[in-house]
Symmetry: C2
Subunit: 213 residues, 2 copies
């Protein structure tokens, strides 16, 4: 029977879990998922190791939960803001610019969480690589779907290779993140912003489309 | 006085160092520079820990020596093959294609060594980040200089922004490496090959230049 005490205990468990994951995504975005340890998180947050362990059970579960938490934060920062923009080039451009802002404003202190941890696990088969490959495929599909809508709306040429265009846009975003974090410079974001406009203009039915001004 | 015994000992020291670094670049390209440890390298190579330690002195020295060793391997794989190609678009294109081949043939088992370890250290100030930032700047300068030679040769438009173009090309190469390693697919290399040709053609004085065919 769930009385008020159990409710409070459940609530506390949920709060602890959220606090642990908030700290875990920060650490992983700077140092990678291998740097996560139940002991370190307990120390950082002033919790007992058993308290943190109870929420996750193993290091791998903690790492997988951290990836899921990062996906939610990414969705709030990058996907939610474009949801109300009508399909078309304005939405495609806003999605790219929103991604650059997500990196530039350091939603994660180490820059893009997924860039950091994908480089860490891309060559190491296992559940973590699978989760990161799924995240990458989902993001690629979102960009490609956004471009497909723009083509359906008549804004992109019928022969545009949507897979290539999505690949090119994502390449520019990730390179901007990587170089901006490494050199602590803003120039890479500006270069990416100019180049992604050129990629979109080259495929637009109207290169003077106001969404690309 | 350096007699034959000392020579043999020096030679053995140099051979040990080379064997350690050969294994270290392999491990780091898959698991990162933090995964390097003197104990693990000694076990992997059947050497004593003190023998490995004598060659490097500290984990950070070992990591820095590993980055230098990877730069030499990269130079042999990517830079040496284009040295005899005359300056111009053919050389610029060969440099990009050579980079894709370097990733595709897994000169390092985890794909591009620098992609892996730069993501690991880009947000962590210190000698390792400095060494990686220097590697990235040097590579960016080589690409930009190669494009500058092509412009001087009259193959690129006088108003081409060489920094932007180098950034765009490098972005495509790195995204190809990252996605190909993550998804174990060849498609990203093909996408990057098509898109880099389009970036070069858009800036070429003759879009039908045979070097871009």
């Amino acid at each position: 029977m769930a009385g008020p005490t159990t409710d409070r205990r459940l609530l506390r468990g949920e709060e602890t879990r959220r606090a642990v994951l908030r700290r875990a995504v920060e650490i992983a975005s700077v140092e990678g998922l291998e740097a996560l340890s139940i002991g370190r998180l307990a120390t950082d947050l002033g919790l007992s190791k058993s308290g943190v362990f109870a929420g996750f059970g193993s290091k791998e579960e903690l790492q997988l939960a951290t990836v899921r938490a990062a996906r939610r934060i990414f969705a709030d920062a990058v996907l939610a803001p474009v949801a109300d923009i009508p399909p078309g080039l304005a939405r495609a451009r806003a999605l790219c610019e929103g991604w650059l802002a997500y990196s530039r404003t350091r939603v994660f202190p180490g820059g893009c969480f997924f860039f950091e941890v994908t480089a860490e696990f891309d060559a190491r088969p296992g559940p973590l690589r699978d989760a990161l490959a799924d995240s990458a495929r989902t993001w690629h599909r979102i960009v490609e779907d956004t471009l497909a809508e723009a083509r359906t709306a008549g804004a992109l040429r019928p022969d545009t290779d949507l897979g290539d265009l999505a690949f090119g846009l994502i390449a520019l975003l990730e390179a901007a993140n990587s170089q901006a974090v490494l050199h602590e410079e803003d120039t890479p974001y500006q270069r990416a912003g100019r180049l992604l406009l050129r990629l979109l203009r080259a495929e637009a039915t109207d290169p003077a489309d106001p969404a690309l001004a």
